[in-house]
Symmetry: C2
Subunit: 342 residues, 2 copies
DNA sequence: GTGAAAGCGCTAACAC
DNA sequence: GTGTTAGCGCTTTCAC
């Protein structure tokens, strides 16, 4: 059915090995031979069979990205970055999505991926349920991982946003506007990201002599809907809250909607800031201040780090020591966080 | 390095083939033998090598999804549906993203995918540049495709939203509210989706005795930014416009932001409706009316259709005739499209 | 420079 | 019920 190396070899009157050399751009082929082979390849429309190559080489030139959902801005933007870099470095991308609350799934996924002989794996999924335990020493050698936004782990290469810094900066900005009772709309409690941002919020408040009262924090899903629910809780518990820092822009959107219904004017008597700086945020009403992070770049960085691990493993030296790559997000000020003058 | 069939066979004192039978759940293995083999498999931690299996069977149990971006709601939600169904049917998912304006890329992608022996391909990408020409008869037999939201093509199985119907229904809703000069904010001209929605808008206006003046249409990128730009154009050309139907919710968001700055009150003297009904739309200000589509279901449908093609090809019968699967979107009314009374 | 032969881990005929 | 023998398409070792 499909054209194989030996078809080409026969047609060109050379051995299989010679064709293989040409295909892989190796030396030791005379110019005329090479050219004849290339011609036959073009004429026959030969394409190497990646499965066969992978089987012979014991590597698939494929990396897997395990993500938690894709319908929210952060994860999908991240995967875009991953895909771009993956393609540029000559790998294919296998996509696997984690389901919420399916016990034992991370083991099943890992088994599946290693059965597919992926060369490495990018784990962009929060520690939900058992998913934190999949990293075991035996595994690290077999299937190099890079973890995204995970809790720091000295054994594993991690690529993250500096969540603590971002949250701290957000609070600092709010405080500098004169807001005093600054709430936090947290994402799901299991997300390391949310834990770190919460800590940044806490520390920021403390640094400004403000009170990180636990009642000023409310938790919700990381959607507009979740943000709205959390905001309702917060307003009920602390009606005197005068600003909120939301886990992400979608939650901030939901919060603004609830605040409006409650008669609060965002940008006047309520300050709001989000996290992500998604492209839509600038068009919300009022335009949303946010903590900008370059998520796609994070994805590229993750792939580069992973490929380094993969190549090092192939070279056979001792495994390179895990690194922690942190990127610094920055506050983008729009109207929602200002203390407008009426 | 890794455990193979023959390791298991040796350890269990049976032949390779017997182990293979057990692994693949085939009959003709006595109960005690089967159990002994299973034990050894568990003890050794054996996992089948998917590459080897693929090579031997001439199929990879992998399908590819080619998408155009992933940072917008539609495409990413679609891929979520695809991933779910793919996993349930026992396939892996290879993700490839199309870059805007890279000539010849579709041929390169196809070559790459067929070299990876994918069993089929889901093409969820607009006809940008040369990408419409990749479907050629020779290819259809080799690599079964399912096209999403493409222009109808009698040779190819297509899964789409009924864009014409959705647009028509949106216009009908706006007209029923009493709006008379209804504009259309189109997405990029090359998108079949945009072309079909435009036609639906046109036909809807005509059906209501309204004028589909070309000046009532403005085109932009399918982002909030693009919607804002298109809205500016539209307002400049036809300041008397009293409602707009936007290609998607993000564009509607941008349009509302511009309208507000221009002193128009959405939901009072300007009606706005989007398309997609993304989860955020309900939290915009004002809450956005939209045309709801079940995008994830579309993804599942696409995978099912593709797997049908794949299995049919394996059975070796004549290729099944291409089908067209259309899903009907529905208008969801919120405040933005209403003609409020002051 | 070039080629022959073995083998990657599995499945598929066909024997026993 | 179970085993033997060829491949699948490629890379790799080593000989020429």
């Amino acid at each position: 059915m499909s054209v194989t190396l030996s078809d080409v070899a026969q047609q060109a009157g050379v051995s299989i090995k010679t064709v293989s050399r040409v295909v892989n751009n190796q030396t030791d082929v005379s110019k005329p031979t090479r050219e004849r082979v290339l011609q036959v390849i073009a004429a026959l429309g030969y394409h190497p069979n990646a499965l066969a190559r992978g089987l012979a080489q014991q590597r698939s030139h494929t990396i897997a990205v395990v993500s938690f959902g894709l319908d929210r801005y952060g994860p999908s933007r991240f995967v875009v970055g991953v895909e771009r870099e993956t393609e540029e470095l000559g790998y294919s991308l296998l996509l696997t999505l984690l389901r919420r609350s399916r016990p034992g799934q991370s083991d099943a996924i890992l088994a599946h991926l290693s059965s597919r002989q992926v060369d490495g794996i990018i784990w962009q999924a929060p520690n939900v349920g058992d998913t934190q335990n999949w990293i075991r020493p035996e595994r690290l050698a077999q299937l190099p991982p890079v973890v995204i936004n995970g809790l720091p782990n000295p054994h594993v290469t991690t690529v993250s946003v500096d969540n603590h810094h971002g949250a701290h900066a957000a609070v600092q900005h709010l405080a500098s506007q004169g807001w005093r009772r600054i709430g936090f709309l947290a994402g799901p409690a299991e997300f390391p990201m949310s834990i770190e941002r919460r800590q940044g919020w806490c520390d920021g408040l403390t640094a400004y002599g403000l009170d990180p009262d636990p009642a000023l924090m409310a938790e919700g899903e990381w959607t507009a809907q979740g943000g709205a629910a959390a905001m309702e809780t917060l307003l009920a518990r602390r009606p005197d809250v005068d600003a909120v820092f939301a886990f992400n822009d979608a939650m901030a959107l939901g919060a603004m909607s609830v605040a409006r219904r409650a008669g609060r004017r965002v940008g006047y008597d309520l300050g709001v800031i989000g996290f992500d700086d998604a492209p839509d945020a600038a068009f919300y009403e009022p335009p949303l201040s946010s903590v900008h992070q370059k998520i796609a770049d994070l994805g590229r960085e993750a792939v580069r780090a992973l490929v380094r691990l993969i190549e090092a493993k192939l070279k056979g030296g001792s495994p390179p020591s895990p690194v922690l790559i942190l990127s610094r997000p920055e506050v983008v000020v729009r109207r929602s966080s200002l203390r407008g003058v009426q």
